[in-house]
């Protein structure tokens, strides 16, 4: 019984991480119809922001040594700046382009960022230990749960609640939801396009930084492709959740996280290496059964 509970907590914490990442992808998709492949690299940048840029083999902490509130803010600001630069340089000239062109452009952007990181920091993974206290287990009754998992779940729930409040109550939030529903109409009613898109990029970058730090605590190593896998999963999560639906992105993130963890436990030993094949196979099946995703966004329905 306790082990089942432990697996469940594990699954929910993985799902929380994926849900946050998926939300970051989904926010930008909502307003810009941009499938942002570079999102994974925003996540990577969040961790590389902690160390001094150098090609040395060992990581020299700079921001990483700061007290945690400052560290989070600094890392988030750096990622936001990178995201805004990307928007300004690449995506703004492409505002009129089709989603396919945007997608390919972000693919190119991702390639540029990754290789820039390789040039600046060297391609080898570097070990970074931040917040060692989180690795200790917390006892809840009979359960001993790694503190990191509890923190991940709490942070995710907190951010989700904050985001819901922001989207429902604040002026920018309402504008963003309007833009996600019908961008043309929103603009004609006086919503500033670049402000809304900029806000979406900033929030998305903030989420990327948080995901990055939580993920870094888990693995303890930075590498230039650390965000790629998370980005892929976030993507898939937004698609099966229903592109354009933020609730769908969160649901998709939790579905993949929980499904993947349970598969890991339940698959027989010799099939365990094939876990990702099962997860991505399931994605194809979900897409076939519900091409619009689990939750259909109102804006996604095709009008003729």
């Amino acid at each position: 019984m306790t082990s089942a509970l432990q697996i469940l907590i594990d699954a929910i914490s993985v799902g929380s991480l994926y849900a946050l990442a998926a939300l970051g992808v989904g926010l930008v998709f909502g307003v810009l119809r941009l499938v942002n492949f570079a999102y994974g690299d925003f996540i990577t940048v969040g961790s590389y922001a902690l160390i001094v840029p150098s090609a040395s083999i060992t990581a020299i902490l700079f921001i990483g040594n700061w007290p945690w509130p400052l560290l989070v803010v600094a890392s988030a600001i750096i990622v936001m700046i990178v995201a805004l630069i990307c928007d300004f340089v690449v995506f703004r000239p492409l505002r009129q382009a089709s989603p396919a062109v945007l997608m390919i452009a972000s693919f190119g952007l991702s390639y540029i960022i990754q290789n820039a990181i390789i040039i600046i920091y060297n391609a080898r993974p570097k070990a970074i230990g931040i917040w060692p206290g989180l690795a200790e287990a917390i006892a809840i009754g009979d359960l001993r749960v790694p503190g990191l998992q509890v923190v991940t779940i709490i942070v995710a729930l907190g951010l989700l609640a904050a985001l819901v409040l922001f989207l429902r109550k604040s002026r920018f939030g309402v504008q963003m939801r309007a833009a996600a529903e019908d961008f043309q109409m929103a603009r004609m009613l006086g919503v500033q396009a670049n402000t809304v898109i900029g806000t979406a990029f900033v929030i998305s970058a903030f989420l990327a930084a948080i995901v990055s730090l939580l993920f870094l605590c888990q693995v303890g190593v930075v590498s230039f492709h650390m965000g790629t896998q998370l980005m892929l999963i976030a993507f898939i999560a937004t698609v099966i959740g229903g592109m354009g639906s933020l609730v769908g992105a969160v649901v998709g993130g939790y579905a993949i996280g929980i499904g993947g963890t349970l598969l890991q436990v339940m698959l027989p030993e010799n099939l365990r290496y094939f876990r990702d094949a099962f997860v991505f196979g399931a994605v194809i099946v979900i897409l076939l059964v519900r091409p619009q995703g689990l939750l259909v966004a109102r804006a996604a329905r095709e009008r003729v």
């Binding site: 989603p99 043309q184 892929l232």
Partner: protein, 379 residues
């Protein structure tokens, strides 16, 4: 009209594949004359990529659906080649999971190449039957998921694919001329397909899926046909690649390959066959130049070298710049025709479809209006 003018006008109307072939033949001849083994390898590499990217174009260019999954077909082709003709002595040792008849037979390389293409096409038919029901981004993501699934399976199915370790001992069959011949076949096949009624139907669905359906085009079926045909050439490219290097490993057929080949297609122009070939040539040239610069060039007594990774960044920047400033690619999505004899005949029907979409009065008026609205000035 005499017969010769009819033949002449026919050739002029269909000069695109001939011109493209002549360009590739010229490149191969230059490689023969240069007698430098490293240049020769670059050219063979280029020709193999032409086969792959033309294959990619057959699907993406005609259907308008971006596929991230074709690297999987190339891998399937490459491994299918290895299963057929590699290392007859050690095959049962490295890949004991293969069926007995595969272990016992060693197929001559040309046959193995062809069968590898068929194998990839068959796989595409099976997977595509499901994926082709989707449209737009959903379809792209599904091809991506397919790439991941195939990659994970081939990486871990040790008894059949030798896992992440490399498969070695594949006979070196691909030389300059073999690669050239297959590239020419790919170009002519792609051209014939795009002017066939199947190609035309698929192009209509690219421009307006709903209108195409309303006109009786079986969009899913046509996409599936193009998907299988394009997978056939991706598989052939994989076979050529395996026969060229003699060793293959799973890692060669993943995101990097996907990126570079898509970049080639985008830079050349997504919607034209000429774009596919021109893109491969331009990007290959760019990669080669950057590679030389990374090695360093001597300026006076000092040697200046770009840092490692500059090659990839240059490639990424080239792609993004083309997307921003020339969204239709270098060729502008037009086909290259015989430059000396201007084509005065009616344009090919596949270009008419393209043109109708960009120049018909209602469409252009609508575009103009929506552009105005987007800029904020309500008409």
């Amino acid at each position: 009209m005499s017969r010769t003018t009819t033949l002449g006008s026919f050739l002029r109307a269909h000069s695109t594949p001939i011109v493209l072939s002549l360009v590739l033949i010229l490149i191969a001849l230059v490689a023969t004359a240069a007698q430098s083994s490293s240049f020769d390898r670059t050219v063979i590499d280029l020709l193999i990529r032409v086969v792959f990217v033309v294959g990619l174009y057959i699907f993406i260019g005609n259907s308008g659906v971006v596929s991230f999954g074709h690297a999987a077909f190339m891998m399937i082709g490459a491994y299918a080649t290895g299963w057929q003709d590699c290392c007859s002595m050690t095959k049962s040792f490295f890949m004991p999971g293969l069926p007995q008849f595969v272990l016992d037979t060693t197929v001559p390389p040309p046959v193995a190449t062809f069968v590898a293409g068929l194998f990839a096409a068959l796989f595409a038919l099976l997977v595509g039957a499901a994926i082709m029901r989707l449209s737009g981004i959903g379809a792209s993501i599904a091809t991506f998921a397919m790439l991941v699934v195939v990659n994970v399976v081939y990486s871990n199915w040790d008894s059949v694919t030798a896992g992440t370790s490399t498969m070695t001992g594949i006979p070196a069959f691909t030389d300059r001329w073999v690669a050239l011949v297959v590239a020419l076949i790919a170009i002519f096949a792609a051209y014939l397909y795009q002017i066939s009624r199947f190609g035309l139907m698929l192009r209509t669905s690219r421009e307006d899926e709903i209108a195409a359906k309303a006109s009786g085009v079986d969009v899913v079926g046509q996409r599936l046909l193009a998907f299988a045909l394009s997978a056939f050439f991706a598989g052939l490219a994989g076979a050529l690649y395996a026969h060229f290097l003699g060793t293959i490993s799973v890692n060669a057929f993943y995101l990097d390959l996907t990126f570079i080949t898509l970049a080639m297609l985008v830079v050349g122009g997504l919607n034209s066959l000429s774009g596919a070939v021109v893109g491969v040539i331009c990007i290959s040239a760019l990669i080669e130049i950057l590679r030389q610069l990374e090695k360093g060039i001597d300026v006076g007594s000092t040697s200046i070298a770009l840092p490692g990774g500059a090659q990839e960044i240059g490639l990424g920047i080239a792609m993004v710049l083309v997307l921003i400033f020339r969204q239709r690619g270098i060729t502008g999505n037009q086909e290259i025709t015989w430059p000396l004899l201007r084509v005065t005949e009616k344009p090919g029907r596949e270009q008419e479809i393209d043109r109708a979409h960009t120049t018909s009065p209602p469409a252009s008026r609508w575009r103009h209006l929506s552009k105005l609205i987007k800029q904020g000035g309500v008409p």
